[in-house]
Symmetry: C2
Subunit: 141 residues, 2 copies
DNA sequence: TTGCTCATGTAAGAATTCTGACATAGAATT
DNA sequence: AATTCTATGTCAGAATTCTTACATGAGCAA
């Protein structure tokens, strides 16, 4: 209760920064950055997504995403066709190695998120989720 | 209500990203980045703070903060003594120009935060703040 | 005093991400 | 059919931030 004047925007930034720090620690043994993990995570959820779509889902530019995808390609964690079957979008997907690495990494990341929420009751968690969703919706509009 | 499986960590990141985007738009006319704004904001709250302390408060490294402070010094928005009076820390403070610019910028940033919270009731806001504080506390521990 | 630890400032370089720009493919419009 | 619009991929370069490393000043303990 150091100071109740703290603004919500600052709290969001603080929580996100700390969460990122903990995730980095958890992911370092797997040689993954948070951005790379987010990318792999999204790829499992939405196989065949384009780099531009991936960028939107992970809050980066498509230029940054493409340079990151190149690294993941080099490591054999993801795969893309050489040429698009239609349009310009190159559908990207996880390889078997990527799927395995993601599973191992997610186990640890999930523990980080669990610990973050450890002080919250069921109803607290619902209220937090509702509040954040309302913020997102308002900022999008 | 697209998907209730979304994790809280992702929501935090999404909210923070969108908030940053809106803040960037609001600050661009003032030629300030979000990081610079955060720095000025903290300086008003804690005049005489060191660059390292400023870095901690704004979630950056002290190296990044020092290079940012150099820009703000060049623009005459902040001031630091040439030599420390004691120890190594150089106490930093806002100039009159920095105070004025901050006031003008904050008016617009406050509107962004207001709009973010526009869909929340009083009790929703309290619950959101409580939830975020609990997350921060758990991640710090 | 001496040595140890910690915090701060700083320098050099790498890595990441972004901005601006351009080409291309499909969709939409006229 | 021709044009315009939108989305995607890509290139080049800049800007930001981080990593690693080192020097210095203060506090503390032996």
């Amino acid at each position: 209760m150091s100071n109740s004047e703290v603004q919500v925007g600052y709290l969001v930034k603080q929580a996100q920064s700390l969460l990122r720090l903990r995730m980095e620690s958890a992911l370092r043994p797997h040689s993954l950055t948070v951005s790379q993990y987010s990318c792999l995570h999204r790829l499992r959820r939405e196989p065949g997504i384009s780099a531009a779509g991936l960028a939107r889902a992970t809050f980066m530019t498509r230029q940054s995403m493409n340079s990151m995808l190149q690294q993941l390609l080099d490591r054999g964690l993801v795969e893309r066709p050489a040429r698009p079957d239609s349009g310009r979008a190159l559908p990207t997907a996880l390889t078997a190695a990527g799927t395995d690495l993601l599973s191992a990494a997610q186990a640890e990341v999930d523990r980080v998120e669990e610990s973050m929420l450890s002080g919250l009751s069921q109803s607290d968690l619902i209220a937090l989720t509702r509040g954040l969703n309302a913020c997102v919706k308002a900022l999008e509009g």
